[in-house]
Symmetry: C2
């Protein structure tokens, strides 16, 4: 495809998506669920064939010198395929959000007014690397009655094409429009620039990938962007609290996995419990090789600890999302200071308090301005599956439209439904 034809190609995708979106929106619950079950079946039946297509991507990636972890992220193992197939079946089993009417109430004029949950229309998703995202996004679009345009990474193009064919087969089987889910067939980067500037055809764009990708898309988009930026998450150990619980949670939040956005990057400790708590948790971190960027008070409280990597924290550390075995640690005067610190240095993603004080818990929940606020549990729980959303299209760090893990609801909006008996405005 030459550069000249990219706008035309995207226009075609857009027109087809818009046309498909009204058919998707009016499709019955039964046919959308049938489509999801058909997709699960096709994924299982095609495991061998999919691995052949996937192999082409893996070979190309290896030849191009991609790192082993990067190549691994591309791999469609039978286990990965079974997991996404299960995801489709779980979605099919979930109640349908579309068409739900909430808050229907009679007004003084006699009309009854409520709100109906409806699909957004068309969403575009731009993602990198992992081809299973193709199925995750497609299945969420199908369940939510949206049409979507998927633009995967060039390194997974063969796998994505094969997966998208199965999706379209499942759509057709269920009597839904094949254009309900379209994969961009070219790896030309100009496509992204087009997709994010077609408000007539695309109602929202969801980027999933590195910060660079998300910032580029946010800067250039002329359609709403559902975006996830930093996850500089905190655990605040309050006074009073159950210190054993605090140690367990602070350990889990940091070390259960280092790369997720909901892993904790900063530990705040109330002055009253610092002397007792910090040596405990520092020993845990030291044993796991976690480097600690500490304030002066924290260093004093931790004291001499063989094998511990203690570094003086700089101002920049409080802002930093490490995504690595590093944590910043600060002693704070108490709840007020903790809330102020989190709201100033945090990224409004996920923050937890460990406390026994009911009033402190209530204030933390109310006043910490983050997408997820937690009491006595690990920030690592902040995801769509753990929240019972069934699946997750992404995590939003914005306040507009959707905050935090975004499931089906984030792909819908509420329109007003008004029922009358001939009432008129006086």
């Amino acid at each position: 495809m030459n550069a000249h034809s990219i706008p035309e190609y995207c226009q075609t995708l857009g027109v087809q998506a818009r046309a498909a979106s009204s058919l998707m929106a009016r499709a019955s619950t039964a046919s959308r669920n049938q489509c999801l079950r058909a997709l699960a079946r096709l994924l299982r039946e095609s495991t061998d064939a999919l691995q052949l297509d996937n192999h082409k991507d893996l070979e190309r990636a290896t030849a191009a010198g991609l790192s082993a972890p990067m190549v691994d992220r591309l791999r469609l193992t039978p286990k990965v395929l079974d997991t996404v197939a299960q995801g489709c079946e779980q979605l099919a089993a979930m109640p349908d959000a579309i068409g739900e009417i909430v808050g229907m109430r009679q007004q003084p004029s006699g009309i009854r007014v409520g709100q109906m949950r409806v699909p957004i229309g068309v969403f575009a998703m731009v993602f990198e690397s992992r081809p299973n995202v193709t199925i995750e996004a497609a299945s969420l679009a199908i369940k939510s009655g949206n049409a979507c345009i998927l633009r995967g990474g060039s390194e997974a193009i063969e796998s994505n094409k094969a997966l998208a064919l199965l999706v379209q087969q499942a759509l057709t089987e269920a009597g839904l429009p094949a254009d309900g889910v379209q994969l961009v067939q070219t790896t030309d980067r100009a496509v992204v620039g087009e997709l994010i500037t077609m408000p007539a055809y695309v109602d929202m764009v969801i980027p999933r990938g590195g910060k660079g990708l998300i910032e580029r898309i946010s800067a250039g988009a002329k359609v709403p962007v559902l975006k996830h930026l930093d996850g500089n998450c905190h655990v605040y150990v309050d006074d009073p609290c159950d210190l054993a619980m605090a140690a367990t949670v602070a350990d889990n939040a940091k070390t259960q996995k280092y790369s997720p956005c909901n892993a904790s990057e900063s530990l705040l400790v109330a002055r009253g419990v610092a002397a007792q708590f910090l040596p405990q948790i520092a020993a845990v971190y030291a044993a796991k090789g976690v480097e600690m960027r500490v304030c002066a008070d924290s260093r004093r409280a931790i004291g001499a600890l063989p094998g511990a990597q203690l570094v003086d924290a700089t101002e920049q550390d409080w802002f930093t999302e490490y995504l690595a075995p590093i944590i910043s640690i600060k002693v704070v005067d108490g709840l007020d200071a903790a809330i102020a610190h989190i709201n100033h240095y945090g990224s409004h993603h996920t923050d937890a308090i460990i406390t026994r004080d009911h009033m402190h818990a209530q204030r933390f929940l109310r006043e910490v301005d983050s997408a997820s606020v937690m009491v006595n549990t690990s920030t690592r729980f902040a995801d769509g599956f753990e929240y019972g959303l069934g699946a997750e299209i992404g995590i939003s760090t914005d306040k507009f439209h959707a905050r935090g893990p975004v499931g089906i609801d984030g792909l819908t909006s509420l329109k007003y439904v008004v029922l009358g008996n001939g009432e008129v405005r006086l």
Copy 2:
């Protein structure tokens, strides 16, 4: 103020708004309601003084040659002031949406997950002409726990300044930060460009005014815009329906007032009832001097009608929001054609069906892709007061975040609240 200092001035407004927003967000329900009642009292006590300030604007407007209706829109009569004071008291009496927790459910891991309604943070509102919008926006900000920056029209600057002083007095009386509501004190247009490109300080911008203003703001904004564009609203008279009801509603929807965005601009009539219905409604419109832009079938059905202004409709007419005593009229084959026409030519604002057929009503509600969909009632009901929202900050024609009349809820978002007992992620 020289041009050089505008960015600095806006930065100051932004910093102050952000600081005030956290105090507003944590303010008690009682103090926010107290503030609203104080504002109502101050408005009533200051009616005479406000009229003096308003008089300066009126004199300037008259001298500048503004049309009489434009000058009228600026006028703060005792009745207008009493209405906005009542609006504040009504808001004070409404239940508090902030802090409400919905959907709290236990998850398999043991954590409980729900969502809490919280303020957006800081919104900026850019509006033209009517100074009472200053109070409407301020009172909605106070009720919803947001801070706001208001930028009114230059023609109402003296009135707006006087009103804003009362708002800040009411905030102070109730122990809330005076910076919770800030009015831009200069009429320099460069301010708008700054306000809509400060994502660090402004979480959303709400333009209210002409289409030109809204398009300029949408094009330049780097923060989410809650915007209202066209209102090309339809009444579809179905077969079968109560024709007397259809005539009453079609009359009201068009003629009760011509200028509002929820007035109907287009009448669609099912072929089966066209011969009977069109002469009836055409006589009503003719008597009120409403020009009819008709399709060939409509012209035939209407026949000879003394005094009627019938004009052949062009393709452009189906797209047009007249905001005037003009209506486009088209005969359609039935429900499918009506829905297709509305979704293609309409502006996704408000559309009504008049029908006796339950299945048609259900399909219309589901398939018409508009912010408000109505059965057997007038499109003129599409506003915040009639919907029971208490007040309205604007009407959204977007699908993202909020659709249709936007009240308190549109100034809030939901954050996740997670309660645990030391659970960790496995």
